[in-house]
């Protein structure tokens, strides 16, 4: 039949996906090699920039402190991500249900989004017990809340009016229109926001820890290592933070692939 876009077989698709990854992998390896080489070639001081190999070996030596510290921070980030995103979705749902409320709140939400929430980190430690994880979770959560709320709201409002008209022709209730049109339309928007939020959550948790926290937390370790000029260990901490941040981001991407199978971003992959 004419005009049909043939869906590639699973095998070919897997091969093509691998093909997409090769250039990125090459560039990554090349960057590490250049980094490693540049330090010997230009005699860059250890405290300015350690070798990648040194960072990895320092990580390995200190893995028994770094991993648990990373885990502590990751749990804070995850908690903040979960509460913040959930809150964002809930508020967007309530607000989206009542257009007037949405029109009143949307500009404020967008303006609030521009407030550097991270500036509240030292204050948040005063609100909660500075050694507890609650203050970090709160900062991570607030960071996640706004982008998720704004995007979900926009998604819920982006439903195709013709699809709604079609549903009306079936005498569909508002709830059915919500479930069958508005929510599916909003899902790609939601996942875009969740990807942003997953990164913000990790940043929020670590920065909040810079202002004090449990001793076995990543932000606290990185800060104290930097203070005693143990930059290699600080870098190893950053490595752990990056790996965990990537893991959270990857989990969201995976979830998106599983749930949203129809948008241009996921259909070709």
């Amino acid at each position: 039949m004419s005009g049909l876009i043939v869906t590639p077989s699973v095998g070919r698709r897997a091969a093509r996906r691998a093909g997409d990854w090769v250039p990125a992998a090459v560039v990554f390896v090349l960057a590490i090699v250049v980094w490693e080489g540049a330090i010997s070639a230009f005699h860059i001081q250890q405290f300015l920039l350690p070798r990648p190999s040194d960072i990895v070996s320092t990580f390995w030596t200190n893995r028994h402190t770094l991993w648990p510290a990373g885990w502590t921070t990751f749990k804070e980030a995850l908690g903040g991500f979960a509460f913040g995103s959930l809150g964002g979705v809930l508020v967007a749902t309530v607000v989206g249900r009542f257009r007037v409320v949405g029109n009143a709140l949307m500009p404020i939400a967008i303006a609030a989004n521009a407030v550097p929430i991270i500036a509240f980190a030292p204050i948040a430690n005063a609100w909660f017990n500075p050694l507890s994880s609650t203050s970090k979770m709160a900062i991570a959560g607030v960071l996640c809340f706004l982008p998720v709320m704004v995007n979900t709201m926009r998604g819920l409002q982006s439903a195709d009016p013709r699809q709604i008209e079609l549903m009306r022709s079936y005498a569909a209730s508002e709830l059915e229109i919500w479930r069958r049109v508005r929510v599916p339309t909003a899902l790609p928007y939601l996942f875009t926001a969740l990807k942003v939020a997953s990164v913000l959550a990790m940043i929020g948790a670590i920065v909040a820890e810079y202002f004090g926290g449990a001793f076995n937390a990543l932000g606290v370790l990185i800060r104290s290592d930097a203070q005693i000029l143990d930059f290699q260990t600080a870098w190893a901490g950053i490595l752990v933070a990056s790996l965990l941040g990537l893991a959270l981001y990857g989990a969201v991407v995976l979830a998106e692939r599983l749930v949203v199978r129809w948008t241009p971003a996921t259909r070709e992959a």
Partner: protein, 274 residues
Amino acid sequence: MSVSDTDPVVRIEGLTKTFARGNVTALQDIDLELMPGEFVSLIGPSGCGKSTLLRVIGDLVEPTAGSVTVNGKPAKRARADRDYGIVFQDSVLFDWRTVAKNIGLPLEMLGWDRDKRKQRIDEMLDLVELRGFEEHHPWQLSGGMQQRVSIARALAFEPALLLMDEPFGALDEMTRERLNLELLSIWQQLGSTVVFVTHSISEAVFLSTRVVVMSPRPGRIAGIVPIDLPYPRGVETREETRFFELVTQVRELLRSRGEHLLPEEELGLLEAPE
């Protein structure tokens, strides 16, 4: 359904529709009756209210004055009873649903169980010749195929009335003519009543039992042309002398009423918003 063959499927009396925004009189004093099994086209320039008329019949737009009954019931009641299927200019398919699930959407709304749905979806796939594409998503189909899915969806629950708003307007000439033939054969198989909005004179003449010519500002019925070409109609129908005579008749009716158009009307800028 308690409608006998002599009762009209759609009865429109003294219908007027004005839109507060822009103070546009989209429709004025429309009287029209559609008999069971009729295929009636509404044709006219942009802004003549033909799409609005279709939406009033479907109770998607409320009339300002006058009455619309569908199957002997007020339009609102008919919509609640799901008495009609609708097809828009764009296929309005749901990207997140497969072809089969798009066709099954109205059946889900009617609360049909899975097996019954599956059976009807299969019948519909055969009807619009899309067997083998049930698990495809809309973006994997050409425009013509998408519109066939849309037609299958509208017909899936066997509505007595089919409302079509320029369903082939966005398609190329070749696809359009092929789908015209398919639509005619489906209509003859099912015997449903069709209201068909179009911009194309030849399409209207080719398909219809009657062509309702509308004029703009305010939207009125300028005249009704009965099409006496015998069914089944085929490719050769478009080459018959009678076909050309009828096309000319419709065109002249359009021209006599539409020559004082403002430029913005021709551009459709005054087309009433929903």
